[in-house]
């Protein structure tokens, strides 16, 4: 809950986002926003033989949400659709280097993952599993 969450990797991706933009004719494509803070994020994925061959994100928002999206795109390149659907938030958070992001900002960090899951499940024609509450 302090500037400690602004690790080098986050700041690096915030200042120089990778894979920013959009893809036409993407097989997987989804977007969402967080009305509370106005974060907006879209992800487009091109598949070849069920494997991610290209991926772009676009959006606006805080350093955490945008850098997390940028980092995520790098992590996903070359993965199979099955791997996308099984990708966990712990994998992403570990890469971000800020496991203790705190409840106020964790939603920012996970927005990109949420969009990925929406798109992947939609592509698979499956229903998005709802988070267990409590």
């Amino acid at each position: 809950m302090s500037e400690d969450i602004y690790k080098e990797i986050i700041l690096d991706h915030y200042r120089n986002p990778r894979n920013k933009g959009s893809l036409s004719n993407a097989e997987i494509s989804a977007q969402d926003n967080n009305p509370v803070c106005g974060d907006r994020l879209s992800i487009d994925i091109k598949l070849e033989d069920n494997v991610v061959s290209d991926i772009k994100f676009d959006g606006e928002g805080c350093a955490i949400s945008q850098s997390s999206a940028s980092i995520l795109t790098e992590m996903l390149m070359g993965k199979t659709v099955d791997e996308l659907s099984k990708f966990t938030k712990d994998e992403l958070l570990e890469e971000l280097g800020t496991p203790s992001l705190g409840p106020a900002r964790i939603k920012c960090a996970l927005l990109s993952l949420k969009v990925l899951k929406m798109g992947t499940y939609q592509y698979l024609g499956a229903e998005l599993p709802s988070d267990s509450d409590n």
């Binding site: 809950m1 302090s2 200042r15 509370v36 803070c37 974060d39 907006r40 805080c62 350093a63 106020a104």
Partner: protein, 409 residues
């Protein structure tokens, strides 16, 4: 500063004796909720330790004492806003409930299909969504007083809005985002000329400036205790007594009745008719004490203090590159609120980095999404002041903002 009263005032507020993240705590989110002085906390504790009991129906000593404390708080609060009678003061949970009370009672009884409700574009969700819902239910129209880029209401089209079908006007006294003080006395008077009944959302005015409901001539008037040094969970509806008397009750149950049989019930007198069930007794008592504390300083002194802080802040922040204050050109500001953007830094990042410096500011839409849209931003960062703030808080915010830039660039 203007007054020595503010010299050692932080000592009255126990939260400032803690260090947060290892640093002195700088609280700049009083528009969301205010810190509590010892007087208020002690009054709550005193109730629990000395006369904790249910009120109104008890015959024994502590219940009589608690009832007196509760009703004295009501009188005290009535005098604070210059109500004609303490019986015009209804305790609610917060300003939000008070607005909903009016929407569900007076407005539901008196507004008819085709009538219109006038609001403004700068309303807090709590004074917007209840009217959206009522409008849908009763087929009413909603019309909005627009705002200028500087945050002031555009009032020269009022005559159009106040046409035949306009029956109710609900507007905020002070914007919780921009600090704009709306000229509600004039607006209310014009509304009354058109036979329009009025509600004032005073959640951001009563805490910060002298307010006189008889002078304003508002019909309904709402505010929250927690934004004026008072406890959690207590708010106020003020209404003219004849209105209250002619309204159906809001919630039903114990204490709001005079007589009940299996199939019928008669109501208690006002204001109790609107207070169903065991109320927030400690909350009301604490709010009474908050009013005492504010009176000791003086509301005009508080208003002046905040304006001095505001001017100091504007001056200091003018040194910051790409720093923009929303509604800065507005000449009618409480001085309690500064909403800003800073370079292209996202408000959440600003708030998080400031938190690392032990500075609490708010980032987001401040429950005023339509206003954000009007300002063309998804969110702002907001610093808001109160009695316990001083120029050193602003200096620390200034340093914090420089840190923000150094982290994010």
């Amino acid at each position: 500063m203007s007054s020595d009263i503010f010299q050692d005032i932080k000592n009255d507020f126990p939260i400032f004796s803690n260090q947060i993240n290892g640093k002195d705590f700088v609280y700049l989110d009083s528009a969301a909720t205010t810190q509590k002085p010892n007087d208020v906390i002690d009054s709550v504790v005193h109730y629990y330790k000395n006369c904790n009991s249910n009120i109104h129906r008890g015959i024994y000593s502590i219940s009589i004492e608690a009832t007196e404390l509760y009703e004295d708080a009501r009188s005290n609060i009535g005098k604070f806003i210059n109500a004609k009678s303490s019986h015009e003061i209804v305790f609610t949970r917060n300003a939000t409930e008070a607005v909903n009370l009016v929407a569900n009672t007076w407005a539901s009884q008196n507004l008819k299909e085709g009538d219109s409700i006038i609001l403004t574009e700068m309303e807090h969700h709590s004074n917007l969504v209840p009217w959206q819902i009522l409008a849908k239910k009763l087929n009413l129209k909603l019309n909005f007083i627009e705002i200028q880029p500087d945050g002031e209401l555009i009032l020269d089209k009022l005559d159009n809005l106040f046409q035949e079908n306009a029956k109710f006007l609900s507007l905020t006294h002070v914007s919780n985002v921009l600090g704009t003080i709306n000229p509600i006395k004039d607006i209310i008077s014009k509304a009354h000329e058109h036979g329009i009944t009025t509600l004032v959302d005073a959640a951001q005015s009563v805490p910060h400036m002298p307010v006189d409901v008889q002078d304003l001539d508002s019909d309904f008037f709402v505010f929250s205790g927690h934004k004026m040094l008072g406890p959690s969970g207590i708010g106020v509806l003020h209404a003219k007594k004849t209105l209250l008397e002619n309204m159906e009750p809001f919630l039903y149950g114990g204490d709001m009745i005079s007589n009940v049989s299996l199939r019928e019930a008669q109501w208690n007198d006002v204001p109790w008719k609107f207070e169903a069930g065991t109320p927030n007794i400690a909350g009301a008592i604490g709010l009474g004490k908050a009013v005492d504390y504010l009176n000791q300083i003086g509301m005009d002194v508080i208003h002046k203090h905040e304006q001095e802080l505001y001017n100091y802040a504007i001056d200091r922040f003018s040194e910051l590159k790409d720093f923009k204050i929303f509604g800065l050109e507005n000449k009618h500001s409480t001085g309690g609120v500064i909403s800003f953007s800073y370079s292209d830094f996202h408000p959440h990042d600003i708030a998080t980095i400031l938190d690392g410096e032990s500075i609490a500011v708010r980032a987001g839409h401040h429950c005023a999404q339509p206003l954000m849209e009007k300002l063309g931003v998804p969110a702002t960062t907001r610093a808001s002041f109160y009695v316990y703030n001083d120029t050193s808080d602003i200096d620390k915010l200034f340093n914090g903002l420089q840190k923000v830039r150094s982290v994010l660039t």
